[in-house]
């Protein structure tokens, strides 16, 4: 067999992009911001546990949540599978492709060798859609790649069966049922939740401690650069997902016929601008190798401002939806 006709488009986030592309393929007209918003994709967590050599933060919900929450709230049904046996996983993927069914798979990003070597890192929570095969070559629609990519069988299998934390274990999914009528209003209201402002405040308080965990200046510079990468470049749509979320609120205002949400979407866009200030301040500190307490406290202050404005924003957003229900 060869490639299944599939509309490949780049997306901001690999999981919401993959779910959106698969639903579009099966005839459901929905955008990435709607998938992201309905599935409560906006999130923040700051982590430092003893087993970690350096603190980390996350601006995305748990891998898999976008699909499961979206399914819960819309009635769309996905078949999902996880495997112990790689041969079985490969066979079932091939069978589905032979039936012209594009399939989303979870992989370790490091083995996706259609990206340049310097760009690839070990992260087990990348999602791509497999849209065909020819011999030992597979065709991949990857939200982060401008064109349809090709990958050899060995690399795809390595990606699907990488071990370690959040190991993919051959995980794959595809939609099997899209309801004719979806109550989008309810799905949107159910999807709008708060964000982890406690995590943002913790990050703001703890960033001054980062130098004590670093083995050298280069290591610390790399970690501080990663603040910018995680907020802007690594599949967020910019501003740590806030620009994507603003787009969701703007679309939601039309569905709910609520002009107040349109105003709040503009406010969310400005909140995203503030996150971009965090990114720029981090990139600047890393480039200048300035990790003084004062400089890190400046980044901490910017983060604290984000926590304050988001706490107020999501409280008002919740009230707005409660009033709308009445």
């Amino acid at each position: 067999m060869s490639q299944i006709p599939f509309r490949h488009i780049m997306a901001a986030h690999c999981e919401s992009g993959t779910v959106t592309a698969l639903l579009n393929h099966h005839g459901m007209k929905i955008t990435e911001p709607m998938v992201f918003g309905i599935s409560s994709g906006i999130f923040f967590a700051y982590l430092k546990i003893p087993v970690m050599d350096f603190p980390m933060f996350a601006v995305r919900s748990m891998p898999g949540h976008v699909r499961t929450k979206f399914a819960d709230r819309t009635g769309v049904k996905f078949i999902s599978r996880r495997y112990r046996n790689p041969e079985k996983a490969e066979r079932e993927l091939n069978d589905l492709l032979d039936k012209n069914q594009p399939v989303a798979v979870q992989v370790d990003f490091f083995y996706m060798n259609y990206f340049p070597a310097w760009y690839r890192i070990h992260v087990n929570v990348h999602f791509v859609t497999v849209i065909g095969r020819e011999g030992d070559r597979y065709f991949i629609s990857d939200s982060y790649h401008p064109q349809i990519a090709e990958i050899d069988r060995e690399a795809l299998m390595k990606g699907r069966f990488a071990g370690g934390s959040m190991a993919p274990k051959g995980f794959m999914f595809y939609p099997v049922h899209i309801p004719e009528k979806i109550d989008l209003e309810k799905a949107i209201k159910d999807g709008i939740k708060g964000v982890g402002v406690k995590g943002i405040r913790r990050f703001a308080d703890k960033i001054v401690d980062w130098p004590k965990y670093a083995r050298d200046e280069d290591f610390l510079a790399d970690k501080v650069f990663r603040i910018t990468i995680f907020l802007e470049d690594q599949g967020t749509g910019g501003g740590g997902f806030r620009f994507l979320y603003a787009s969701f609120l703007q679309e939601a205002s039309k569905v709910l016929n609520n002009p107040r949400l349109d105003e709040m979407s503009k406010e969310m866009m400005k909140i995203g601008d503030g996150w971009r200030d965090v990114s720029l301040a981090s990139a600047k500190a890393a480039k200048q190798r300035d990790f003084s307490r004062e400089r890190l406290m400046e980044i901490g202050d910017l983060l604290r401002q984000r926590a304050d404005v988001e706490e107020s924003f999501f409280t008002r957003l919740g009230k707005e939806l409660s009033n709308h229900k009445k």
Partner: protein, 164 residues
């Protein structure tokens, strides 16, 4: 954020960002990666510094090749142990030259599968880090020169990729 304020010229690394368009609506647009476009030289400098420091430690017999590749690929001991399906204690042993010497070839092969490198690269230093088109583990036409180091288990291999 307006679309025009987010445009970055970086054709080799594209991303999708959401921004306000000219008509006031919000939506996606494809542009260059800010980090890749503006700070890529810094990223390469950090990687090259790390590689150089690790190669020196490798040559003087202070670390094992497993340690070198673990660091270059940004893995931690618990993460590598999880991927190998062995304890962190055992991985730590394999990170030392002594533990590396005592390792079974089959165990080493599992490391090289995870690290996505040829087994032979565990026994040689390949100076290709300056060539950003070079991809570890993928054959390309190249000329090779090899030099001994102070560490009897390690030889230095210089590979120059053929640009033709």
């Amino acid at each position: 954020m307006k679309e025009k304020d987010l445009v970055t010229d970086c054709p080799y690394q594209q991303v999708v960002l959401y921004a306000e368009k000219g008509d006031g609506t919000f939506g996606p647009f494809q542009t260059g990666s800010y980090m890749a476009g503006v700070n890529i030289s810094e990223h390469f400098r950090i990687t090259e510094n790390l590689s150089r420091a690790l190669v020196e430690q490798l040559k003087s017999g202070k670390i094992s090749p497993v340690y070198y590749f673990m660091m270059i690929e940004g893995l931690t001991v618990p993460e590598l142990a999880g991927r190998m399906g062995i304890s962190s204690f055992r991985v730590k042993k394999h990170l030392t030259p002594d533990g590396f010497r005592k390792m079974r070839i089959s165990t080493l092969k599992r490391y090289t599968d995870i690290l996505n490198i040829p087994l032979a690269n565990m026994f040689q230093i390949i100076n290709t880090i300056e060539d950003r088109n070079w991809d570890m583990g993928y054959p390309k036409i190249a000329s090779i020169s090899q030099t001994k180091t102070d560490n009897p288990l390690v030889i230095e291999t210089k590979i120059i990729q053929d640009k033709k």
